[in-house]
Subunit: 209 residues, 2 copies
DNA sequence: AGGTCCATCAACCGATCGGTTGATGCGAGG
DNA sequence: CCTCGCATCAACCGATCGGTTGATGGACCT
């Protein structure tokens, strides 16, 4: 019998999950949580075989909750179940200790199969997530900008000229230009506009709003 | 007895919804659809009182399906049920004829109450959605860019110079500059970079990825 | 010690941008 | 018919950008 805690902030979704698991002879739902904090507390107390965890929850999200569980209860496995393939969060969740990552869009049999794999100590990845992981492994080293470079670029994104940026940061225009040249090199771009859009794509600049 | 068709592309979510509705004495689920096309076909055939419609579905989305249903079956009411408050789609869905818009995060009693309101011919809006609508009514007229302006700006966002854009679009550089001047006026910005970021914020340019 | 990264700065110059002023023509709607 | 929005184009000019070449100094690591 696989003992499971279900964590999802949407009551209607949680009831769908619980309904599915309860219909399986070898699975018992021993607890339900509506956020990360509750999930960690419940799983620590009840020591289920698997926590079925939504990735996006208010307050403590699924990835952070997974990390906390890994520390408090390394014997409890976590299967992430989420709506979208958001590749920004996949590595985070897996690095945090999750044993699997499935999509809510998956057929119900596939979710049950994934859960059973994870309970057996295996890894369960939706095929599309596995493909994203493989692609990620092939990517070049992650680009980083210095704090000052990021600061200058953010002001560029707001439409400021080099002269205005220099005044705002109490440096010379030459300094601003030098930072920008460095940014262009790191991002492999040729102009400020593309530098801004690429930095946003890479998550190096916030996409305001 | 309120007869309902449920349309959601996630099997696990759909079973949660169906489970909730089936537990109510006055509600009968007469059909389930996993996309917009299926929802329209089922509702046209079965003529339920209400279609409970997910907003984001592959192929024909909830808003388009609602519009088609309004044309084919004006007697059938639509209650949109979705994950996020995405204000880009609210007006679209309501303009298309939806009688309500609720969040999946809502307590189950609230979803049932909303469904009953809609079945009675009333409007059911989650409080947060009502607030968004009120704010929307207060906003200044929406900025729009012509197709050509949008095209030029998208190429700017990719780091192309005016000269390159002119070559790509088979026009002169003067034409490109004129389009950009117009874009700057409409968006009330002073340079191309800010034009790009502001257009993205306003949803006039896609935020690639 | 040396090397790397980061922050700062200068001068010069060609390329590009943005503004200005003017123009034409087309299509849609009243 | 007129008006409006859109697309197209030119020339000129000042402002700004981006590249180049060089430099200093500090912090951190080996």
């Amino acid at each position: 019998m696989i003992r499971v805690v279900v964590a999802d902030d949407h009551p209607i979704v949680r009831s769908g999950i619980v309904g599915l698991l309860s219909s399986a002879d070898d699975i018992e739902v021993v607890g339900e949580a509506s956020d990360g904090v509750e999930a960690v507390a419940l799983a620590t107390q009840l020591a289920p075989d698997v926590v079925l965890m939504d990735l996006r929850m208010p307050g403590l999200g699924g990835a952070e909750a997974t990390a906390q569980l890994a520390a408090a209860r390394p014997d409890v496995r976590v299967l992430i179940l989420t709506t979208y393939e958001s590749d920004e969060n996949i590595l985070t969740a897996i690095e945090a200790g999750a044993s699997g990552y499935l999509l809510k869009a998956a057929p119900q049999e596939e979710i049950l199969a994934g859960l059973r794999s994870v309970a057996r100590g295996e890894v369960a990845l939706a095929p599309s997530i596995a493909a994203l992981l493989v692609n990620r492994m092939r990517e070049p080293a992650k680009v980083t900008l210095s704090d000052r470079e990021t600061q200058v670029l953010a002001l560029v994104a707001e439409g400021n000229s080099n002269r205005k940026i220099a005044a705002a940061l109490f440096v010379s225009e030459a300094t601003v230009k030098t930072h920008l040249i460095h940014v262009f090199e790191k991002l492999d771009v040729k102009d400020r506009t593309r530098a801004v859009t690429k930095a946003m794509e890479l998550g190096l600049l916030p996409r305001s709003r």
